[in-house]
Structures are given as structure tokens and as C-alpha cells.
């Protein structure tokens, strides 16, 4: 990088020429929550590099965990830049303290990036056009950009972006570039192949697990098996006798066994003798937790109150009550948690598969006593995230261990450590009550929720309500005149965290199944009931109708099969699913086909939308059929894929995704596919067996 221009508080882009290699444009995007406001200076969020070889590289500072951001961000930029897609590459951003607040979650990448990336791409395009116009001594307005070239039609001249890159680096960036008319889009909205596939099929992609640093040691960390437990004493002398074990050392988060390789660390870990102080939780069980929930259910704070559900229920002749329960869930990302850290007296370098760079840097600074600017954080590929990698426990282990031994250390969680580490999707207990009018239409709805809080980790809850625990319940879209939703927060030592689709992961199940109960009670078709109650919710209604029509709702099915339907909004997107199920002789549920309709506003890459719907369905179906973490003696019982089974290829339903384009506000896509699948399947089971599933996982029907 030789020269830098255009860095003022007002400018949103920073331009540099690459020594002999082209143009580098850095740009500052306002971070989450500050969209549309003035940009803080000095922080660079992403880069475009245009090489003299015509290769356009987009450097993306979001984490790639499978959701496709390494492709969708470049598509948006390339669209406005008028780049030649075959010349477009993408890279994960390097560690650079000029990057602003970094974090990937809440299905937010496209929603927060879309408008800003378009502006940046357009600005870069105008700079290239200016450079060409200067070169040819013509008016820029007589030139156009197309497919990697600037063209002056009148004189039949053209120059490639690579040829123009160095000159463009001297052009003052425009403040308000002209955006393309969406009707002329060539990339956005059309299926595109992912840019990161080759490294994911040839073994070359570097995940956190694959990081190699000279002089690096490998460690396992033993944590208290009991939630909230503490170290009392330990004896590492046997562990130290194992060949290649270098060190056994207590760190604030546990005991680190540091070795030359993972296997030696595993053996050393097994040989550790540790006495834990189990505190007061050493006897805690899932039954205790349920009993606590039961005791608290009437103590909830009001999250939503419409009309008078108690009065309406008292007058009604047909009413029902039901209890719905969901367990704790582990994320079980395919790549177990891990992190590599190299702590030196004057700096700390970290290689992490993380969704939350900002919090990671802050924590590392706190542990090491360094300034955040002295912490260099490299984001690797993530072998799945689903929210788990927005935690920093694995990073703390690595930083503590490297600091203690004075060498670079990679901490690897065994699958068992990973699954027992907590940060689960919270368990939830829901008492439901509903009543119908004389014609059988719902008139009252009461939903009392008890569920541990995720958000209290960030500070006191507003009005005593964790919004993530009630999301998907307090905003129930159905036109039911009398409605009450309450939330009570139990205090438990089991740590909880964001899990793909968060509160919607349980509340869609609870609300969509209970609505089905009301439909049955009133003798209504579950689809027709929803349609009626969603008359004023056009986006819900459109996906519902699309899914039902495409699935042939109401058409006869072969003997032994049935359909169930569910619709849910989360992260700004609307998804309806119809599941077709049967039972085998042993009572195993088999889901044959899922028809899915999604409205996520404007679509960047339809192929990614499709992939994420399938992914969300597989994830939600695994949880519905099998997923549960139970607690015994203060510990998690399940610890690997034998006790925590997940859906495999022979259980994967055929998925048909229909994208409903509404042109409405952009929604997320990584999470909204997950919530509807559990209720769609359970409602189909009811249609087949007249048996209601009110407690997940389904496991096996008697």
C-alpha cells in the first residue's frame, strides 16, 4: 500500500494504490444499530481489491459458517461495480484493528450490508469510469461500465478494470454514487455458485482446527463437569509422565493439559486427578428443573395483553389447556470448539473460528492486560456456528493457556467437552389455554412461558422480560381478540445461549401446535383456520397459501401418510412449511417431504436461500426428533452423537422451496427455516394418529 487518500470523517471510503498491483478500496460501513447515521472515522469494514490482472477480490469481514456470506456480499458489490463475475474472488478479512465492530449472527449479514455494499460498489464503479474518462479526455457521462470494462461507445474504446485500477486510485471517491436500477440487475436475484466451494472439497480450507503456528502446542482443558462448580485440587503428576505431555496447569477456567499433539493431550487429560467443589448444584436434575418451572409458571411478567382472556374464557363453552415443554439443546456444530492463541508480552495473536470478533478481542485484552489494538484476531473458516461461536469460552481457554505457558497453544475441545460445555438453547415450559366462540373460532389465547434467560448475561432485563424468550410468542400474528403472554425467569446454573432461531425455535413449536389443537377443537381445517386468522397479515398469508397449494393441501395421500402445516416469522422473514409424514412399525417418525415457502424480501442468491431452508429444516428436524440435553447430578448427560443423535441422509426429507418475492423489507435467511419444521411435523403426526406431541423431542411414538 503506497498512498492513501480520502480519509476524512465524511468519507465512507478510503482508497489506496497497491504498489504496482492495482487499486485497493476500503470502506466504512456503519455497524449494526447505527444504520443510516453518520459513519465513525477510522474503521474499515471491508475492502475491494482490483488487480492489474483484472481479478476483483472482495474481502469480507463477516464470518463464513456455511451461510454463504463469502458469496452473497461479493454478489452485491459486483452487481453495482459491474464486475465480470468470472473474475470475482472473495476472501475472509485478515486481522486488522481498523475493522470496526465485527460479529455475525441474528441472520443479519444481508440485512445490515445490502444498502451499504451497493453504495460502495457503485462508488468504485464511478471511480473506474472517471479514470477511463480522464484517460480518453471525454465526459464521464459518455462512458459506461459493463462486465469488467469501461466502454466509450462513441469512439469504440474500452479499458478493463485491471488497466484502470492504478489510475482510479487517484480519483476522489464520490460521496453519493448513482445506484443501479434494480430492474437492470444481472447478479442479484439470480442463482450463483458459491465462491468458496473448491477449498471445501479438496481439504485445503483452513478451519480453526487446522491452524498451524510455528512452535504451537496443543491443549485440552478440563472444566468443572458440574455447572457452577469450582476446582478444589488436582494432581497432574501421572499426566505429566505421558510422553509428549509438556505441562499441566491450572488456569481460571479449568485445568489445561498442554502437549505436543492432540492425542497426548487427550491421554494426559484422562490421567488427571481432579477434585471439584460441586457447590450447591451437584444434585441438580432435569426433574428439579421442571419442578421449578412448574412452581413459577404463574409468576410471569406480562409481555403482551390484549382484551380479557380470562373473561372471554369464562364465557366460552369450548376451551382447552395444555402444557408444552422443550429441553435444553446443544448446538453440536460439526467442528468442535477450538482456538489458537499466541500471547506475548507486547501483543496477542489469535486464530479463531468465531462469530463475534469484537467481544473476542475485548476478552483477550482483558485476560492479557493488553490493549485491544494489541490483539490481532484472525477469523478462520467456521465448521458451523448456529450461534455457539458467538460465545468466547473456547477463546478464553486458549488465551489463558498460552499466557500461562508462554508459547502458542491450540485448545481443542473433545466432542464430549464441546457438548457438556453448556451454552444451550434454553429449556422452556409453557402453559397454554385457549377458548372458542360459538362458531368454533378462537377468542382467547393465554401463553405462560418459563424459560432461563439468555439476555441477562448482558445486563438487567427490561421489565423483567427476556425478549428472546418471548419472541415468536408475544408477536403471535393471529387475530385473536383476547390474548395474554407472560414470562417468568428461573435462575439456574446451566448456561444458555443463542441457538439457531433462538426463542422462535421453541415458540413456533408451542404456538403452532396449540393453534392446531384449537382448530381440532372447533372442527376447523388447520390451514383454513390460519388463513382466516391471518387475513390482515399479507406476508404470513402469502407464504402459508403458497406452501399449502404447492403441497396439495387437502388432496388425498397414500394410506398411512398425513400432512401438517405451520407458519412462522423470525428475523424479518416469513416461512411456511407443510410436512408429509408416516410412522414405521416401531413408531419411528419418517418425514418424507417438506414443502417450504419463504418470503425474505429481496433475494440476493436464490440458491443460498434454498440451501439455508434445507439446512434449517435438517437442523430443526434433528432437534424435534432427537435433540435433548438432560441434567443429572448437575451435569449434562448427553456428550456425543451416540447419545445426541442427529438426522442423517436416510432421514432427510425431500425439500421443495418456493421463494415468494414480495419486494418488502429484507429478512434474514440463516435461521428462519428452522422454527416451522417441528410444529409442521407434530401437526402431521396428530393428523395421522390423533396423538398430540406436547413435549420434544418426539423420539419414538408408542
Amino acid at each position: 500500500m503506497t498512498t492513501t487518500r480520502g480519509i476524512t470523517r465524511r468519507h465512507f471510503i478510503e482508497v489506496s494504490s497497491l504498489a504496482g498491483a492495482g487499486l485497493l478500496i476500503g470502506f466504512r460501513l456503519p455497524t449494526k444499530g447505527t444504520a443510516g447515521t453518520a459513519v465513525a472515522g477510522g474503521e474499515i469494514n471491508a475492502w475491494i481489491r482490483i488487480g492489474t490482472d483484472d481479478i476483483v477480490t472482495f474481502i469480507v469481514n463477516q464470518s463464513e459458517m456455511g451461510q454463504g456470506v463469502l458469496t452473497s456480499y461479493p454478489m452485491i458489490l459486483a452487481e453495482e461495480l459491474e464486475a465480470d463475475w468470472s473474475q470475482v474472488r472473495s476472501e475472509l478479512a485478515p486481522a486488522d484493528t481498523r475493522f470496526g465492530s465485527q460479529g455475525t449472527g441474528g441472520s443479519a449479514s444481508i440485512r445490515t450490508g445490502y444498502a451499504k455494499l451497493r453504495k460502495v460498489g457503485a462508488a468504485a464503479r464511478e471511480m473506474l469510469v472517471s479514470a477511463a474518462a480522464q484517460n480518453w479526455r471525454v465526459d464521464p457521462s459518455s462512458c459506461r461500465a459493463e462486465n469488467g470494462f469501461v466502454i466509450h461507445a462513441a469512439s469504440n474504446r474500452r479499458m478493463s478494470y485491471g488497466q484502470l485500477a492504478e489510475k482510479a486510485a487517484t480519483v476522489t471517491p464520490p460521496e453519493n454514487p448513482q445506484l443501479k436500477d434494480p430492474r437492470t440487475f444481472k447478479l442479484i436475484g439470480k442463482p450463483a455458485k458459491r465462491l468458496d466451494t473448491v477449498s471445501k472439497v479438496n481439504g485445503a480450507g483452513v478451519f480453526g482446527m487446522d491452524v498451524k503456528v510455528p512452535g504451537m502446542l496443543v491443549a485440552q482443558v478440563a472444566h468443572s463437569p458440574v455447572f457452577g462448580g469450582k476446582l478444589k485440587s488436582f494432581d497432574g503428576s501421572t499426566a505429566l509422565k505421558i510422553p509428549d505431555v509438556r505441562n499441566v496447569i491450572a488456569i481460571p477456567t479449568g485445568i489445561a493439559v498442554v502437549a505436543d499433539n492432540y492425542w497426548a493431550a487427550t491421554k494426559g487429560r484422562e490421567a488427571l486427578e481432579i477434585v471439584w467443589d460441586e457447590g450447591t448444584n451437584g444434585k441438580l436434575s432435569s426433574a428439579d428443573i421442571t419442578a421449578l418451572f412448574e412452581r413459577m409458571v404463574d409468576q410471569g411478567k406480562v409481555a403482551r395483553s390484549d382484551g380479557d382472556p380470562a373473561g372471554a374464557t369464562a364465557k366460552a363453552t369450548r376451551k382447552i389447556e395444555a402444557l408444552y415443554q422443550v429441553p435444553y439443546l446443544a448446538h453440536a456444530t460439526m467442528e468442535p470448539m477450538n482456538c489458537t492463541a499466541d500471547v506475548r508480552p507486547d501483543r496477542c495473536e489469535i486464530w479463531a473460528p468465531t462469530q463475534f470478533q469484537t467481544a473476542s478481542r475485548q476478552l483477550a485484552a482483558q485476560i492479557t492486560g493488553l490493549k485491544p489494538e494489541q490483539v490481532m484476531l484472525h477469523t478462520t473458516l467456521l465448521g458451523g456456528g448456529f450461534g455457539r461461536r458467538a460465545q468466547t469460552d473456547f477463546l478464553a481457554d486458549a488465551v489463558h493457556t498460552s499466557k500461562a505457558v508462554g508459547q502458542p497453544v491450540k485448545v481443542i475441545y473433545s466432542r464430549e467437552d464441546d457438548m457438556r460445555a453448556g451454552f444451550y438453547r434454553p429449556a422452556a415450559y409453557n402453559r397454554m389455554a385457549g377458548a372458542l366462540d360459538a362458531e368454533g373460532w378462537p377468542v382467547a389465547w393465554t401463553h405462560q412461558i418459563v424459560s432461563p434467560s439468555i439476555l441477562e448475561a448482558f445486563g438487567p432485563l427490561k421489565d423483567g422480560i427476556d425478549r428472546t424468550s418471548v419472541e415468536g410468542a408475544e408477536n403471535l400474528p393471529y387475530a385473536i381478540p383476547n390474548m395474554l403472554v407472560t414470562y417468568a425467569k428461573p435462575d439456574l446454573p446451566v448456561t444458555v445461549w443463542f441457538w439457531r432461531s433462538v426463542g422462535s425455535s421453541q415458540n413456533a413449536f408451542v404456538t403452532e401446535c396449540f393453534l392446531d389443537e384449537l382448530a381440532a377443537l372447533g372442527g376447523k381445517d388447520p390451514y383454513e383456520l390460519r388463513r382466516r386468522l391471518l387475513a390482515n397479515r399479507p406476508r404470513h398469508k402469502r407464504v402459508l397459501e403458497t406452501a399449502a397449494q404447492k403441497a396439495g393441501w387437502g388432496a388425498p395421500l397414500p394410506q398411512g401418510r398425513s400432512r401438517g402445516i405451520a407458519v412462522h416469522q423470525s428475523f424479518g422473514s416469513f416461512v411456511a412449511q407443510v410436512a408429509e409424514v408416516s410412522l414405521d412399525g416401531q413408531g419411528h417418525v419418517r418425514v418424507h417431504r417438506v414443502v417450504c415457502a419463504v418470503d425474505c424480501g429481496d433475494v440476493v442468491n436464490p440458491d443460498t436461500v434454498q440451501a439455508q431452508m434445507e439446512s434449517g429444516i435438517a437442523y430443526g428436524l434433528s432437534a424435534a426428533l432427537y435433540g435433548e440435553i438432560t441434567i443429572q447430578n448437575g451435569r449434562a448427560v448427553q456428550d456425543n452423537f451416540d447419545s445426541y443423535p442427529v438426522v442423517r441422509i436416510d432421514e432427510m426429507p425431500a425439500v421443495e422451496t418456493h421463494i415468494v418475492t414480495s419486494g418488502d423489507a429484507l429478512g434474514g435467511i440463516g435461521e428462519p427455516g428452522t422454527p416451522p419444521i417441528a410444529p409442521a411435523v407434530c401437526n402431521a403426526i396428530y393428523a395421522l394418529t390423533k396423538k398430540r406431541i406436547r413435549k420434544l423431542p418426539i423420539k419414538q411414538l408408542a
Binding site: 473448491v198 479438496n202 478451519f207 468442535p336
Partner: protein
């Protein structure tokens, strides 16, 4: 510790490791080939699948001493520098999401197609049900296997 010689991707390599070290960790740590992944360590996920004398085997369940003298192929060695037809089919169908399970998936698929030129859906279920994908790319995996089978029959 004992020196053990394995043939890995066509090259004989000698490593000094404890005889009970799983082949997975021999491959990843002393040999430094990280395309083969660790997912569970107990034979449940097959992220660690390699070929031993041509068969798809989960390398976390094979000890270094058992692997001694055997011919081992990892994801890095299936195609001799070019892309294997199965890898090409994976690219065509845009299979990977996070990508972490895909080395293992591809190794299982290559072994399947080596013995079954035109696998049915039931054959694919049977051969691939050991491989977990938490991103749920299963339907694309199935399509990619059919595509690769078709390509070789053409």
C-alpha cells in the same frame, strides 16, 4: 513410542508415535494433513473418513499400529492434483455449506462409486448414513453422487 511406516497418498512416511494413537491424529498432527477432520472421535460422524487399501474407514477408530504398512489415501490424495469427478460433482451441485464434513462425505462417496457404478437412493443411504452433516446438505450430496455416477457412465 515406536516408529511406524505408512504409505500415505502414495508416499511412504515414517512417524514415531504411540501405537495406540488413532490414525486420524497421525494424519493430522505429525503428518500435518488437515483435510481429514475430527468430529466425534468415537466412530459416529465419519468426518475422519479415509481410504485404507481402498475401503472407506473412519480413521479415529484405527490405531497407528493397525494402519502400519497399509495404503492410506486422504482427501488430499484422491485426485493427484486435479479434481476427482466426485469433487467436480460436488462443485456442480454446490454442496458444501460450512464445509467441515465434506472431506469425509467425499471420501465415502468415492469409495461407494468405486464398487457401485450406478448406486440407487437406497445404496446411497446405506453407504452415506454414517456421515453426519450438521448443515443438512444431504439432498445435494445425493444429487452430486448421482451426477458423478452419470458422468462416469458417459
Amino acid at each position: 513410542m515406536a516408529p511406524i511406516t505408512l504409505t500415505i497418498n502414495g508416499t511412504a512416511r515414517t512417524v514415531d508415535v504411540p501405537p495406540d494413537m488413532p490414525l486420524l491424529w497421525v494424519i493430522r498432527d505429525p503428518l500435518g494433513l488437515t483435510g481429514t477432520k475430527f468430529g466425534c472421535g468415537i466412530g459416529q460422524c465419519r468426518a475422519c473418513t479415509v481410504h485404507i487399501d481402498g475401503d472407506a474407514i473412519f480413521s479415529c477408530q484405527v490405531s497407528a499400529s493397525t494402519a502400519a504398512g497399509k495404503k492410506i489415501t486422504t482427501i488430499e490424495g484422491i485426485s493427484g492434483g486435479q479434481l476427482h469427478k466426485v469433487q467436480r460433482a460436488w462443485i456442480e451441485e454446490d454442496v458444501p455449506q460450512c464445509g467441515y464434513c465434506q472431506s469425509g462425505q467425499i471420501m465415502s462417496a468415492v469409495a461407494l462409486l468405486a464398487t457401485n457404478k450406478a448406486p440407487t437412493d437406497a445404496d446411497i443411504d446405506e453407504a452415506m448414513r454414517g456421515n453426519i452433516c450438521r448443515c443438512g446438505t444431504y439432498n445435494r450430496i445425493r444429487r452430486a453422487i448421482h451426477r458423478a455416477a452419470k458422468e462416469s457412465s458417459e
